[in-house]
């Protein structure tokens, strides 16, 4: 695809502004009605999906050119997909998130990159991670764990740690715990340790499509050679990459997020809880596990018209509306833990508010990223939650940093942390 391929989307956008809000049916209050962090923070129309359609069209038509403001408009978006869900309530044929990504690819191709992103991408090219850390220490998180390394010892299930979990020591207990629990449950599991690479999805979201393709192809090749059948990950970004993006390259593995695997084991009775964890918690849906967690459905076809002017796709085009992602397994797990009281925030599931860590925003616009996370913490506080639980290392880190910056008292857990406490 090229940006030009989205011209009809740009021209068909009717500027209704649904993209700025959560689906209007779900609005429960003034305070938590907004869906798009970018327009909520920056306010100008151009920071919404409708505005970005207009900006992209202006660029395509040569009516404006690249400026610092244009780069800001294009890159100050968490690519969370909230606009995509709200748009599709009424407009079946618009793809604002895909257009947004294509717009970034175009800017990167034209050399309109942010220095903050470039620094990370250059490091990624050298060291295979987004964390500005050496490749050699990628496997340190697993030190002391008695687990197979699939390069030397085949395993049916690969546990993919991801960049954030691999290098953020504070989050290591979650992935060490996940491996230990799965192993104890009898799963034939292995890791890649220092041989693991970035999934590439964050580079993709920054506009570096080629980097994503390279890393995805490397991963596919390595897994194929190792005889991997199933990939399990605690990283929502990785889940999105392997579930939704990599299959476009033609190779399919069974991909599960840890919460899906654990939910399955709990329901089978393989995992049993013996301790109570008395806590009032709320669950934050990571964008890449929820909205972005819908499975890829291959499609190749063309646009046609029915009844003169009804736009349809032949053959029938899959419709990603955000609601078929992974929402129930984490909730089922939390409900099954003795003592846990799960309370829901106002914006959940397909209309969840983003943590602010995605789309290269944490790296390039830390203030905006922090504000977005703080908004979510406020939402959790509003329902009296003692803790926020999530299933994504990037979300957890962004919340921890925001809470720390604001000297808040909210606790943050990966769902594995609570499972471990209850076993």
């Amino acid at each position: 695809m090229a940006l030009e391929d989205y011209r009809s989307d740009m021209e068909r956008c009717s500027q209704c502004s649904y993209c700025k809000w959560i689906p209007l049916d779900h609005i429960k209050s003034w305070r938590f009605a907004k869906g798009c962090p970018s327009i909520a923070y920056n306010n100008f129309n151009s920071y919404s999906a409708r505005g970005r359609f207009a900006v992209a069209l202006s660029l395509l038509n040569g009516e404006s050119g690249y400026t610092e403001r244009v780069r800001d408009i294009v890159f100050k978006c968490v690519t969370c997909g909230s606009c995509d869900v709200s748009d599709k309530i009424c407009r079946y044929n618009l793809e604002p998130l895909e257009m947004m990504r294509e717009l970034r690819f175009t800017l990167v191709e034209d050399g309109q990159v942010l220095p903050q992103h470039m620094r990370i991408i250059e490091h990624l090219r050298e060291e295979d991670n987004m964390m500005l850390e050496p490749r050699a220490s990628r496997g340190d998180w697993a030190e002391g764990l008695d687990v197979k390394h699939i390069i030397s010892e085949p395993a049916e299930v690969l546990f993919y740690a991801g960049c954030r979990f691999s290098y953020d020591k504070a989050l290591w207990p979650a992935i060490r715990g996940a491996v230990a629990i799965l192993k104890k449950a009898g799963v034939d599991i292995g890791i890649m340790g220092r041989d693991e690479s970035c999934c590439g999805v964050r580079a993709y979201d920054m506009g570096f499509k080629d980097e994503f393709t390279r890393f995805a192809q490397n991963a596919i090749e390595a897994w194929r050679e190792a005889g991997v059948k199933t990939v399990v990950t605690s990283c929502a970004d990785g889940f999105h990459a392997f579930m939704r993006l990599s299959p476009r390259l033609g190779e399919h593995f069974e991909v599960l997020h840890t919460v899906q695997y654990l939910d399955r084991l709990i329901k089978e009775g393989t995992i049993r809880f013996s301790k109570s964890v008395p806590m009032r918690v709320t669950y934050h849906d990571p964008c890449r596990l929820g909205r972005g967690g819908e499975p890829y459905v291959p499609w190749e076809g063309k646009e046609e018209k029915l009844k003169n002017q009804i736009v349809i796709y032949v053959p029938r085009k899959p419709r990603y509306n955000g609601a078929w992602g992974i929402y129930d397994p984490p909730r089922e797990i939390l409900k099954s833990i003795p003592g846990i009281e799960l309370v829901e925030m106002e914006r959940i599931r397909e209309y969840s508010w983003c943590c602010g860590a995605g789309g290269g925003v944490r790296e390039a616009y830390p203030e905006f990223s922090n504000w977005t996370a703080t908004e979510r913490v406020e939402e959790a506080k509003a329902i009296g939650a003692e803790a926020m639980v999530t299933a994504c290392g990037w979300c957890e880190r962004n919340f921890l940093d925001a809470i720390d910056a604001a000297s808040e008292k909210m606790a943050v857990f990966d769902i594995i942390d609570l499972v471990q406490r209850a076993i």
Binding site: N45, V311, R316, N321
Partner: protein
Amino acid sequence: MALSRELYQVLEDIVGPENISDDPALLDSYRYPLTHTAIHLGPFYRKYTPRGAAVLLPGSTEEVQAIVKVCNKHMIKFKASSTFWSAMGYPSYDNTIQLDMRRMDKILEIDEKNMFAVIEPYAIGAVLQAEAMKKGLNCHIHGSGSSCSLLASATSFVGPGPDGLFLGLANENMLGIEWVMPNGEVVRTGSLGSGLGWFCGEGPGPGIRSIIRGFQGAMGSMGVFTKIAIKLHPWPGPSQLPVEGIPPAYRTTLPDNFRVYTLAFKTWQGWSDGCHMIWDAGIGYIAHRQFNMFGRDLKGAMIKILTDPTKTLSDMEELLKDPKVQKMTEAMQRDFQIVLAGMTQRDIEWQDKALDKILAETGGYKVEEMNEPEIRDWALLYLIRLGHKNLNLVYGGGYDGCFGMVGPPDFGASHIEEVSDFKREWEKKGAIVTAGGDCTMGGIGFMGGGGLTMWENFTHFDPADRESTEGTYEFFDASYKYGVKHSLGYSLERLMSFARGADGMATSDEEKERWLAGAPQAFMFQYQRKIKELLDPNDLGDQTYRWLKPPKKKKGQDRF
């Protein structure tokens, strides 16, 4: 032409550097594509409303006032908009300063006892409704849907909507106003002007609502409205709408004091009599011919698509062959939707009985297929929240309404087949969606208590398709002429043509005269000219406040 750096700095000092921009690409996100406005304009293709000189995001009345004073000092045109739903929210002159009221989005007060709310420009319908429901109240949501500004509709347009029967028109609900006049002075109207609070729009204090609004609202061209109070109405439902389902098939299940029916009639006379009897009986909370906007021939299939999240428009052809869908579509030929809301259990029981009696006397019936729980609960949520309003754009991306036939139900009902035949012939030409000729949508009593119906015949087209947009324009030209020739009354096709030309710019005075001089009450527009000259002496507002130059006085005549 960009603002001078000195002037830009003056404005930046008012709102702060983060709330002003004159970047060309950013300004282009404040332009409206004219391909979406066949109703108003044409011929067109890839044209937009003019690019502004700068966009400002004021955060308070004081900032708005300061901006307007600067505009007056430097003779710069300005236009304020909130949710920018249609072309009339955008300037029609080059180098206008665009005020985006987005930062002023608060609900300042909900007075439960006196049943009103005080809101800022960017408070949208869905947000106020959600907050009002917590207090057992509800607000009118106008037809453009709950994503739109309530203040903009009340001050600046007509604001009919499905709930008008019980909750009134937007402008009927407007109470006290805080208004930054075109010259930068601040006026507070009604009881607010006497320091007595927001409860009354017409006094004690200055009652100038009609002067401010003019004919059909100021449409963003008479200063800036910064706060208003609007009336709230009883809501006998839960404090929060319980919403379930997979998008777009969201639905709500409400308690037993609510009903939603699709009523249909064997004849248009029965349809019309049904409306009158419903008004006479005083029943109904919402009444609207809603889903017919998808077209007389297509609405059954569309309802099936919209209530099944696995379906898309690509399923339509198959659904149209389904005998059950065909039966449903046939049953809904002459229909409208109604929501009953009982304030007590006895009330809902009485309303139900009254409705059954009305149906028995008019040859009406409840469409069975629309009572299937998933469809019923979807329709109920749709009508109450009006959060799927822009489905009128689902087919090809563009829609506009022709005809209108505002008046008592008998008027529209007696012409509906004739205008449907006319449109059906045009559908055969290919530019617009073939939907059965009749895609009329409108309120069943869109002002408080009933009395009026409206028949906006939706026309669906593809704004990214040149032949479709140009063909739609030709159709609107023809339908406009047909309406004039056959005396079909107030027409929607050229609603804004007096203000904006085919190039998206303001029309010349001569052109405007041509449009407005033939109006049945042209004198009113001459009077509005006097108001305009008095309140906007530097002529800095947009063209959308309608006025005519007074005719030349005859000898010895001291007034026109």
